[in-house]
């Protein structure tokens, strides 16, 4: 991770960290490889045009990179309508394709948690009791060499 003042500010004071009182949808991004996960809580408000993110919060069981990604992406998502949220998730995932998998996994987990929360909201329009959705990351958090070593040992 290359560090600048902006990044360190997110490390020192992660934005939107914690649970969200009055949230009406939640989503989870998970890394089954190491048990890390991100939970995103949204308070979706109804507008004349379409629903938008009135407030957002996240919690993480994960590393500092995950927390920084959560802090940045939730800031971006705040105020967006649902289409905007999906565009943000797509753009993030596309950007992550250019990174090595071990660098992409943490941010992918956050993006998927946001997508899961938005999808849960959509589902709850038909079924208010629909449980929070969970998506799993495709990128591996473990570097390739280490992965191969593990496979050989097993």
């Amino acid at each position: 991770m290359t560090m600048d003042a902006h990044l360190i500010e997110h490390m020192m004071n992660p934005k939107n960290y914690g649970t969200l009182a009055g949230s009406n949808t939640e989503g989870i991004g998970k890394n089954p490889e190491n048990g890390e996960k991100v939970a995103v809580y949204l308070r979706v408000m109804e507008d004349e045009d379409q629903p938008y993110v009135g407030d957002i919060a996240f919690q993480a069981i994960g590393c500092t990179t995950t927390v920084v990604a959560g802090s940045m992406l939730t800031e971006e998502a705040k105020g967006l309508n649902l289409n905007g949220v999906y565009n943000l998730v797509d753009a993030t995932l596309k950007l992550l394709e250019k990174l090595p998998p071990e660098d992409a996994a943490c941010s992918e987990m956050v993006a998927l948690a946001i997508k899961a929360a938005a999808d849960t909201y959509v589902r709850r329009q038909d079924d208010p009791d629909y449980p929070a959705m969970t998506y799993q990351v495709e990128n591996s958090c473990v570097e390739k060499e280490e992965n191969q070593e593990k496979e050989t040992t097993l």
């Binding site: 490390m11 020192m12 004071n13 993480a60 069981i61 500092t64």
Partner: protein, 277 residues
């Protein structure tokens, strides 16, 4: 009671941060006060358990970024006075009187503390009298953020386990691990403050301390201790060229992890024997 517990939790951490940012004789007093507030926190928790009421360790974010120590001392005093008001609604009068008496003493001392300039949030990322390479500085920065949170997380987990266990053997081990994590937390906060990157550790998610499978937790914990040893070793290597002092410190922390591993293995053996697994 719930508000009392949250505010005491926040006051404990705020006091710990104040102690970490101080560079004068105020430091030890503030750190001692933070220990007192942690004990208050555990006594309030015990009340919840006695009453068979559910609780968790959730709290709000705690703003600590100041340029003068006096500013955070004022904030702490406000919080302590709020706690004192909350005590009116508690049933255990002995506990109430004890906490209230401690608060009266602490606010009095805080009021007369000499003010000082705070540089703990400067983001300079430079140790006084030590010049590290950019690579070593970045590695140390990341380590401090990761490990400050990790030590706080461990304190909360072991504290929760201890609060819900009546096994004296296990509780002795949990208490040692809490004490050790406190030492590490204070050391890392001190280093973070010197680097200008002091930060309050983030809130721990419930599922981490409300453990359902203690055996698995201990097994994972042993693996994590080995991983922490490796991080210390790498960091010790990264700073060795520029600072023998920091190198020795990280070797020392690395070696302390050996005892943590031994204790956790002991706890695991005891737990398995007790539960006949």
């Amino acid at each position: 009671m719930r508000t009392l517990m949250i505010k005491t939790h926040e006051a404990w951490l705020e006091m710990l941060m104040a102690g970490s940012m101080s560079r004068t004789e105020n430091r030890q007093t503030l750190l001692d006060f933070s220990d007192i507030l942690f004990r208050h926190f555990t006594w309030i928790e015990h009340e919840f358990i006695c009453r068979n009421e559910t609780y968790n360790y959730d709290r709000d974010a705690i703003p600590v970024k100041v340029t003068r120590l006096g500013d955070i001392l004022k904030n702490i005093t406000v919080r302590l006075n709020e706690i004192d008001l909350q005590l009116l609604s508690t049933e255990d009068k002995a506990l109430t009187e004890r906490i209230s008496s401690d608060i009266r003493y602490m606010t009095g001392v805080l009021h007369h503390m000499k003010d000082e300039t705070v540089t703990a949030f400067s983001m300079q990322r430079k140790f006084p009298d030590i010049t590290l390479t950019q690579e070593a500085t970045d590695a140390l920065t990341l380590f401090l953020f990761e490990e400050t949170y990790k030590e706080y997380e461990l304190i909360m987990i072991y504290n929760y386990l201890k609060a819900h266990s009546e096994d004296a053997y296990l509780n002795r081990i949990f208490q040692i691990l809490i004490d050790e994590s406190f030492f590490h937390l204070k050391s890392f906060c001190d280093m973070s403050a010197k680097m200008g990157i002091l930060a309050v550790p983030r809130v721990v998610m419930k599922e981490l301390y409300q453990i359902e499978d203690v055996t698995q937790f201990l097994r994972d914990g042993i693996d994590e201790e080995f991983a922490a040893k490796e991080e210390c070793r790498k960091l010790s290597e990264a700073v060795a060229k520029d600072s023998p002092e920091l190198e020795k410190f990280f070797d020392f922390i690395n070696n302390q992890e050996n005892y943590h591993i031994a204790l956790m293995e002991d706890a695991l053996k005891h737990f398995l024997k007790k539960t006949n697994v």
